[in-house]
Symmetry: C2
Amino acid sequence: MPVTPDATARATSLADAAIAGDRLALARLLTAIENRTPVAEAAMRRLYATAGSAHLVGITGPPGSGKSTLVARLIAEVRRAGRPVAVIAVDPSSPITGGALLGDRVRMQAYADDPDVFIRSMASRGHAGGLAATSTAAAAVLDAAGFGLIMIETVGTGQSEVEVAAAADTTVVLEAPEMGDEVQAIKAGLLEVADLVVVNKGDRPGAHRTAAQLRAMLVAAAPRPNPRPATGDHGDATSPERPRPKRPEVLITTATTGEGVPELLAALDRHRAAGTAGPPPAARLARAEAQVWSIVAERLRDRLHDGAHTGATDAVLADVADHRLDPYAAADRLLGVLGDEPG
Amino acid sequence: MPVTPDATARATSLADAAIAGDRLALARLLTAIENRTPVAEAAMRRLYATAGSAHLVGITGPPGSGKSTLVARLIAEVRRAGRPVAVIAVDPSSPITGGALLGDRVRMQAYADDPDVFIRSMASRGHAGGLAATSTAAAAVLDAAGFGLIMIETVGTGQSEVEVAAAADTTVVLEAPEMGDEVQAIKAGLLEVADLVVVNKGDRPGAHRTAAQLRAMLVAAAPRPNPRPATGDHGDATSPERPRPKRPEVLITTATTGEGVPELLAALDRHRAAGTAGPPPAARLARAEAQVWSIVAERLRDRLHDGAHTGATDAVLADVADHRLDPYAAADRLLGVLGDEPG
């Protein structure tokens, strides 16, 4: 969608208000980001340079590992240190309708009067391949608004959802002790994106054994050489197969009591400190690429579906649907259409 | 990747062999599709016109609803009718490493000597926004090879995974009775993509009550008007928000005993028959678009990262990562780069 002067004016005032600490403006901007409105574009253009200093922490893990409770404890711990904190919860319970979780609303309530806590549910609907881009853009807005620590909570079962957490500066993978064989398989996949592994529900009998098993698995998994973020080869913007500088630490927490949570926050801060020197780390580059590519793709799609080209595009797609034209030949035709009107 | 004469020759012979019933050739083609090699492209160009008559059935539902067992029963039922059947299981257990599930291998074993059954696990790794495209391409290969019924099994918790099932001609959403509050929420989202709702584990006490609840929910959810597949507006190729011609039927099965499975197959066939008249249904168009768009995106990315442009692209992305350039301005620059060398 084109950015009109009206949208720009509205976005400028919303962005400036959000940066100045206006929570309603911040909430409105996040809604615009989620709906990809012209206001979102104009606002991002306005505030992006102000962002860039926050620490993005992705928190993922299988259902039942206690993510939400741990995030609530982390918020309390960060607030004890007087630091502002924001949470983006990518709602896993409803891929289509995307309603906020009840528990989330309850957590929200507890910090309703604290200007230094901002909790936001984000639906994952309708954002195929763009979920990482949308959450990154939302994080940039919170970053510009002064939230120095931003947690992005996702469930570790869907591919897009794992990618969102993997695109953070620091990715925490949660496990619960003794979750059976099926979860062991999930574990193997999730471990590859972990900077920190947390065995939660540490008061259960198997916690220390699970932690020991995880440490053994991590020793066995030799880090793979991979000098730059894997992009372009599979059409994915934020491949989680980015290089990990060192073997992830394994920590034990009990979110229900808060045990181990101060140590987890300290580990997050250490990981952050280790990653701030030198050129932009792979995760930051992958994030940038996901964001930029999502915008490029949206612009090109708009071009194929708007105005002069929409008839030709629809005809090509109908031919593919009816198997009169193969998808590669169709892609060549659409690239031809795009090529006719560059820029 | 460009299609070399070598790849074309190899693809042609693989495609022809697969169409003629060579299972090894079929398996190799599916691997090529999954890895998006030049062989895949050449093979698709060769066999796409032969495909187009199969019935694609998506089967999704929350973990623990008994999808795999039901699919195994459906295979047996379809075989009893003498019809060939293929299954694509999009592996939910490992978004990153993507290993085949043990249960899947066991199922495979049971039909190892049956030339009219083909079961294939597909990893979901590295295919952000392209999972639907890859499974659609795999289905086209199986379709051309003569499998008239192709089931695509995915777990109903990840956004990409639900989209894969939603892009089928007929989408079956599984529920198990009395799965608690959290699953009720999942239900609300999943129901929107359902053509058929199946309450599995029908021998449990709550099954009939759950079925009644689901019917009530479906009556309450009025169908939304949506004349064409929603594409282009959120960058998603296969929005599950396609129009549903009628309220989904609710069936009860007990996959462990096979109870209700013949009725389910009959319902699948009825839904198929109802959708074959008239212009290509929305699901087919959305599938075509996901496939074509995935190829367009891959080509454009290759162009940005290969040869002359890669330095400029990397510099733009580094500037975004360091917040010296906002992602919209970066997208404009990359579109300029693409515009310089169209076609």
